[in-house]
C-alpha cells in the first residue's frame, strides 16, 4: 500500500500538469501588461503562505523535524534547529512577498528549494557522517543524545549514599545527567582496590562475590558506533561494569545488587539505576515488621478469621508487600483469601448494597491510581477490587467508556485502559453465564471496535458472532498454516514462526462456532499445536491451551491423542533435568484430568531417564505436581522401585537389607515417604518412624523439623500426625507448628496437648498457649508496619 501511496505523488504531478496543459494555449502577454492585481496578489500569497505553513510544520515537527522535542535536546542543538527553522520561515515569508509582487512561479520554486534543503539539513540529525548536513552546521557533539540517570534504592529507601567507582555521587533518590556522571566517574577496566579478584581459573566477569561492601553493577549508557550501512555514526545503548558501594546511617550496605534500565529515542535517554542492599538498621526494622505481620495474621487465626476494621486498617499499613505476602500464604490457607477480599472491600467501601454511582467512583479512583503507578495487573490489590466491584457498575456505562477509550489514540495506552478491559471481560463472562446463546452488548459494541483496531486476541477472548465471522472468513481466504509468505496481514509472529493468524485465534476461541471449526479442522489445529510445542522458541515445551478444549471426547480428544508425541518432545525440553521433564509429563497428564490413569503417571516415571544423581529433594519437587488422588499409589510404586534399587546395592556391597543404618541410596526413598507424610499419610509416617524412630531419632526429628520450622504454614495433616505420636519429642515438635499456625483445628490439638501425659509436652503446650493468648490480647495498634527509613 505504501509504495502505491508514495508513487501517488509523481503520478498526481503528471496528472495535474497534463490537465493544466490542456487548459493553456501559448499566448504571450504584452510586456506592458501588469504582472498582477490586488485580488490575484492577495489570493496567491494566501494560498502560497497557507500551503507553505503546512509544509513547514510537517517537516519541522513530524517527519525528521524535532521542533516539538526541543526540551529533550542539548541547548546548542536546540538553538541550531530553531535558527534553521527560522531561516526556512524567513524564506517562506520572502516567497510570499515575491508572490505578492506577481512572481508566483518564482515564489513556488524558491519555496520548493527551501523546503527540500531544510528537510535535507535536518535529516537524521543525530548522526554524524558525510551524508548528514546537521553534523556540519551544529556545534560539535551538540547532537549527542542527552542521557539522564535516576539513582534509587529498590524499596524506596531515601538518604542512601551512593558511591560508584570510588566517587560519591549523591544520596538517594537523585538524578544526574550522563555528562555529569561521565565527568565524575572514571571508567575502570580493572576493579578498584578492595574489590575482590576472582580466584585463579575463574574469569573475573563471572566472579560475583566481592570482598567488603563492593558490588558490581551494570550501568547502561550510550556509545558511538559506526553505522556502515548509513555511512555515519549511531548512538546505541550499552551496559558497562561499574563498582558500587552504598551507605546508610553510617553503615555500608552488604549483599548488595544493582541493575539499570530504561530507554529513549534519538535525542534523549532516561535510565534508572536501582540499587539494593542490606543495612542492619533497615534489616532490624524489616525483621520487626515481619514479626508484627505474623502476629497480625495469628490474631486473625485466633479470632477464627473474624477481623474488624481496625485490624484491616493495620494490615493496610503493610501496603503492596502485605498484599503479596497474604496472597502467598492464602494459597494454603483459604480463609485468608476471604480476609483479602474484606481488606479490599473495606478500602474501597465495596458492599452488596452500594449504588452504581459509588461503584463508578471506585472505578474512577482505581483508574486514577493505576495511571499514576503506570502499572496494573489482575493479581494486584486494585485487580481484586475490580473483580469485587465490577457487577455493581452499569454495563452500558462501562461499554460506552471503553468504546471511547478504544477510539482515542492517547487513552488506549494508559494503565486504566487495562482496568476497563478487565471490567469488560468480567461483564462479558457474567452475561455469557446468564444467557449463553444471546449476543451481549459487549460482543455487539466492543468486539467490532477491537477488530477494527486489529486487536484480535482481546476480540477473541470476548467472542461474539462478529469475531467468529471475521476469523472464519479470513481463514477461508488464507488456509496455509505457517510461513512468511502468508504476508503481514495474515500471519501472527509468535515463537519465531509466522503462523496463520486466523487459525491461531480460532484455535484459542471458546464458543460453539469455534468448537465446530476446531472439530472440522482438527488436523490443522493439531499441526498448529505441534508447531507451537516442538519449537526452539518454546524450549519449555509448554502445550497450548486449545489442545485441551475437547477433553469431553475422551480418548478421541486432541490432547489424549497427542500425549505420546508430547511425551517424546518433552525429552528435549529446557530445563533438561530429569525431574523437570517428569514434572512436565505429569503436568500434561494433570490437564488430561480423568483421562489420565495411574498407569500413565507411573509410566512417566519409568520412561524418564534419570541420568543425574537421584536426589530426594528433586524427587519431592516432582511429586508435588501429582494430583492428590494419585499421590499415594504413584509414590508407593516409586518407593517400591527405589527400595529395590537400594536393596540391590546393599546386597552388592554385602549389607543386610533389614538392618537400620544410614545408607545413601535410601535418601530418595525417605524423601518420597516424607512427601507422603506431609500429605497426611500415616502409614508412611509409621514406616519412617519404624525405620529411624528407635536408633536415629535425631535424624528423623531433623527432617521433620525442616518441614515444620522452615515453613510459615506447616501442613495441618503433619501437625496431626506429630501430635498423635507416641514420642514426646515429636509431640513437642507439633507445638512449634501450632505456634506458627494457630487455626481452630490446630488449637484443638493444642488443647489435647495441654493435658498430655508427658510433663515436658504439657509445659511446652502451656507456653504456646500463653504466647497465643498474649498475641490475642496485643492491641492491633502495636502491630502497625513501620517505615524502613526516613
Amino acid at each position: 500500500m505504501n509504495h502505491i501511496l508514495y508513487g501517488f505523488i509523481p503520478l498526481a504531478f503528471i496528472f495535474l500538469i497534463a490537465g493544466l496543459i490542456s487548459l493553456s494555449k501559448k499566448k504571450n502577454r504584452p510586456v506592458s501588461a501588469p504582472r498582477t492585481n490586488t485580488a490575484a496578489s492577495i489570493t496567491e500569497t494566501i494560498i502560497l503562505f497557507s500551503a507553505g505553513c503546512i509544509a513547514l510544520i510537517c517537516i519541522s515537527c513530524f517527519n525528521n523535524g524535532i521542533l516539538l522535542k526541543l526540551r529533550e535536546l542539548r541547548p546548542a542543538f536546540a538553538m541550531t534547529h530553531i535558527i534553521i527553522t527560522a531561516i526556512a520561515a524567513a524564506f517562506l515569508l520572502s516567497a510570499a512577498l515575491l508572490s505578492w509582487f506577481g512572481r508566483t512561479a518564482m515564489a513556488v520554486i524558491l519555496m520548493t528549494i527551501i523546503f527540500f534543503s531544510y528537510n535535507a539539513a535536518i535529516d537524521k540529525a543525530p548522526f554524524e557522517g558525510p551524508g548528514y548536513i546537521m553534523a556540519r552546521i551544529a556545534p560539535k557533539d551538540s547532537w549527542v543524545p542527552v542521557v539522564n540517570y535516576t539513582f534509587e534504592i529498590n524499596n524506596g529507601l531515601q538518604g542512601v549514599e551512593v558511591w560508584i567507582n570510588g566517587v560519591f555521587l549523591g544520596t538517594t533518590p537523585f538524578k544526574m545527567t550522563g555528562d555529569e556522571f561521565n565527568k565524575k566517574v572514571l571508567f575502570l577496566t580493572e576493579p578498584p582496590e578492595g574489590f575482590a579478584k576472582a580466584p585463579e581459573g575463574v574469569p573475573q566477569e563471572n566472579w560475583k562475590q566481592p570482598e567488603g561492601n563492593w558490588f558490581k553493577v551494570q550501568i547502561v549508557g550510550i556509545e558511538k558506533e559506526e553505522n556502515i550501512s548509513r555511512q555515519g555514526i549511531s548512538y546505541l545503548s550499552k551496559f558497562k561494569d561499574y563498582y558500587a558501594k552504598i551507605k546508610y546511617a553510617g553503615e555500608w550496605g552488604i549483599n548488595c545488587i544493582g541493575t539499570s534500565g530504561g530507554g529513549g529515542d534519538f535525542y534523549q535517554y532516561d535510565y534508572e539505576v536501582s540499587l539494593n542492599g542490606h543495612f542492619s538498621v533497615t534489616d532490624k526494622i524489616e525483621q520487626e515488621n515481619r514479626e508484627r505481620f505474623n502476629k497480625l495474621l495469628q490474631k486473625a487465626r485466633l479470632a477464627d478469621y473474624k477481623v474488624d476494621k481496625e485490624w484491616l486498617a493495620t494490615l493496610d499499613t503493610y501496603g503492596e508487600r502485605g498484599w503479596r505476602d497474604v496472597q502467598k500464604i492464602a494459597e494454603n490457607e483459604k480463609e485468608l483469601s476471604e480476609i483479602l477480599d474484606r481488606w479490599v472491600k473495606w478500602k474501597y467501601g465495596i458492599s452488596d448494597d452500594m449504588t452504581q454511582k459509588q461503584a463508578g467512583k471506585d472505578l474512577d479512583d482505581i483508574c486514577h491510581q493505576v495511571d499514576i503507578k503506570r502499572d496494573y495487573s489482575k493479581d494486584s490489590f486494585e485487580g481484586r477490587a475490580i473483580e469485587l466491584v465490577y457487577d455493581k457498575l452499569d454495563v452500558e456505562y462501562i461499554v460506552k467508556k471503553y468504546e471511547k477509550i478504544l477510539k482515542s489514540r492517547n487513552q488506549r495506552s494508559l494503565a486504566s485502559a487495562m482496568v476497563l478491559y478487565q471490567v469488560i471481560e468480567l461483564w462479558d463472562k457474567k452475561l455469557n453465564d446468564e444467557e449463553a446463546d444471546k449476543t451481549n452488548i459487549i460482543e455487539k459494541k466492543i468486539t467490532p471496535e477491537l477488530i477494527k483496531l486489529e486487536d484480535f486476541r482481546k476480540a477473541a477472548v470476548l467472542g461474539g458472532p462478529e469475531i467468529e465471522k471475521y476469523l472464519l472468513r479470513q481463514y477461508q481466504r488464507e488456509k496455509r498454516i505457517e510461513g512468511v509468505e502468508l504476508g503481514y496481514r495474515n500471519y501472527e509472529y509468535t515463537m519465531g514462526m509466522f503462523i496463520n493468524k486466523w487459525l491461531y485465534h480460532l484455535a484459542f476461541m471458546k464458543s460453539p462456532v469455534a468448537q465446530e471449526f476446531q472439530e472440522k479442522n482438527r488436523q490443522e489445529i493439531m499441526k498448529l499445536a505441534e508447531l507451537i510445542i516442538n519449537n526452539n522458541f518454546n524450549r519449555e515445551r509448554n502445550p497450548p491451551e486449545f489442545l485441551f478444549y475437547d477433553l469431553n471426547l475422551g480418548e478421541k480428544s486432541m490432547a489424549y491423542e497427542y500425549w505420546a508425541s508430547y511425551s517424546e518432545h518433552v525429552e528435549s525440553s529446557f530445563p533438561s533435568f530429569w525431574w523437570e521433564i517428569l514434572k512436565k509429563r505429569w503436568d500434561y497428564l494433570n490437564r488430561l484430568g480423568s483421562l489420565a490413569t495411574e498407569e500413565m503417571y507411573v509410566h512417566c516415571w519409568k520412561i524418564t531417564k534419570r541420568d543425574a544423581p537421584l536426589m530426594g529433594g528433586y524427587l519431592q519437587q516432582a511429586l508435588i505436581v501429582l494430583p492428590p488422588d494419585k499421590r499415594k499409589p504413584v509414590t508407593n510404586v516409586i518407593v517400591k522401585e527405589l527400595l529395590g534399587i537400594a536393596n540391590k546395592k546393599r546386597q552388592e556391597i554385602g549389607l543386610d537389607i533389614n538392618a537400620v543404618h544410614y545408607f545413601q541410596e535410601d535418601e530418595p526413598v525417605d524423601m518420597a515417604r516424607e512427601f507422603l507424610v506431609k500429605s497426611g499419610d500415616e502409614e508412611s509416617f509409621q514406616w519412617l518412624f519404624f525405620k529411624y524412630g528407635r536408633n536415629q531419632k535425631n535424624y528423623l526429628k531433623g527432617r521433620l523439623e525442616q518441614n515444620v520450622m522452615d515453613k510459615s504454614t506447616p501442613e495441618h495433616s503433619l501437625i496431626q500426625i506429630l501430635a498423635k505420636n507416641e514420642d514426646s519429642e515429636l509431640r513437642k515438635l507439633s507445638l512449634e507448628a501450632i505456634r506458627k499456625l494457630s487455626t481452630a483445628a490446630n488449637r484443638k490439638i493444642l488443647e489435647k496437648l495441654l493435658n498430655d501425659s508427658d510433663e515436658q509436652v504439657r509445659s511446652a503446650a502451656k507456653q504456646v498457649a500463653a504466647e497465643l493468648e498474649e498475641i490475642k490480647n496485643t492491641p492491633v495498634s502495636e502491630l502497625v508496619s513501620e517505615p524502613k527509613g526516613n
Binding site: 505523488i9 495535474l16 504582472r35 502560497l48 500551503a51 503546512i54 510537517c58 512561479a105
Partner: protein, 216 residues
C-alpha cells in the same frame, strides 16, 4: 441571484461527458473494491484529482467558441461565475452522491458481505461512512483552486504560469499530508482552518477576477 436553468443546463452539459465517465468508474469501484475504504486510499485521491482537473479544464476553456458564445449572451459575469460554480457542484454531486449512497446504504456492504464473503463487512460499514465526506472535502479544496487557475490565466495579466505552479505545489502538499497515517489534533485543526481560508480566498478572488477575464 436567480438560478437560470437554461444557463445551468448549458454549463452542466459541458462537463457531462466527464461526469458520465467518472460515474462509470466510481460506482463499480465503490461496489467491488475489496479493500476497506479510507481517506488515504491513493486511487480515490487520484480519481478526485483527475475529476477536478477535468471539470476545471472543461469549464474554463476560455479560448473556445462555445465559451465566447455563452459569455456574449448578455449574462453578467457574476451570473456566469455563479452558474459555473453551481454546475461544478452539480457535476460533483452527480458522481459523489451515488458513490456515497453506495457506501452509506448497505449496498456496498451487502455485495461485499454476500457476494465476496468479505470478512470486513458489514463490520467496517460504519468506519467507511465518514470517508465520502473526506472525498467531498478534497473536491472542496481542489475545485475552487483549479477554477481560480483558469480564471487567473484568462486575465490580461502577466505571470499566468505562476498560478499553475502554485496549484501543483498545493497538490504536492496534500499528497504529502496523505502519507502521514495520523496527524496531531492541533495540526488537524490548523489544516482545517487553513483549508477553509484557501477555499474562501479562491472563491472570492475567482469571482472578482472573473469579472475581468478576457474572452476571445
Amino acid at each position: 441571484m436567480k438560478i437560470k436553468m437554461s444557463l445551468l443546463k448549458i454549463m452542466f452539459r459541458e462537463t457531462l461527458p466527464v461526469t458520465l465517465i467518472t460515474l462509470l468508474i466510481a460506482c463499480p469501484y465503490a461496489l467491488f473494491t475489496r479493500e476497506v475504504l479510507n481517506w488515504q486510499n491513493p486511487w480515490i485521491a487520484i480519481f478526485i484529482l483527475a475529476h477536478s482537473i477535468a471539470i476545471a479544464a472543461l469549464s474554463g476553456r476560455y479560448r473556445s467558441r462555445s465559451f465566447a458564445f455563452v459569455y456574449t449572451r448578455g449574462f453578467t459575469r457574476d451570473e456566469l461565475w455563479f452558474h459555473k460554480m453551481l454546475s461544478t457542484a452539480l457535476s460533483i454531486l452527480a458522481v459523489w452522491l451515488p458513490v456515497s449512497l453506495i457506501v452509506w446504504l448497505p449496498v456496498r456492504s451487502l455485495i461485499q458481505d454476500k457476494l465476496f464473503i468479505s470478512p470486513y463487512f458489514p463490520l467496517m460499514m460504519i468506519r467507511e461512512a465518514s470517508v465520502p465526506w473526506v472525498w467531498l472535502g478534497g473536491y472542496a479544496i481542489l475545485l475552487p483552486l483549479f477554477h481560480y487557475v483558469w480564471i487567473r490565466r484568462a486575465q490580461p495579466l502577466r505571470g499566468e504560469n505562476g498560478v499553475v505552479f502554485l496549484a501543483v505545489g498545493v497538490v504536492i502538499v496534500i499528497a504529502t499530508l496523505m502519507t502521514f497515517r495520523w496527524h496531531a489534533q492541533w495540526f488537524r485543526i490548523l489544516i482545517y482552518c487553513l483549508s477553509t481560508v484557501m477555499i474562501i480566498t479562491c472563491l472570492v478572488a475567482g469571482r472578482i477576477l472573473h469579472r475581468t477575464l478576457e474572452v476571445q
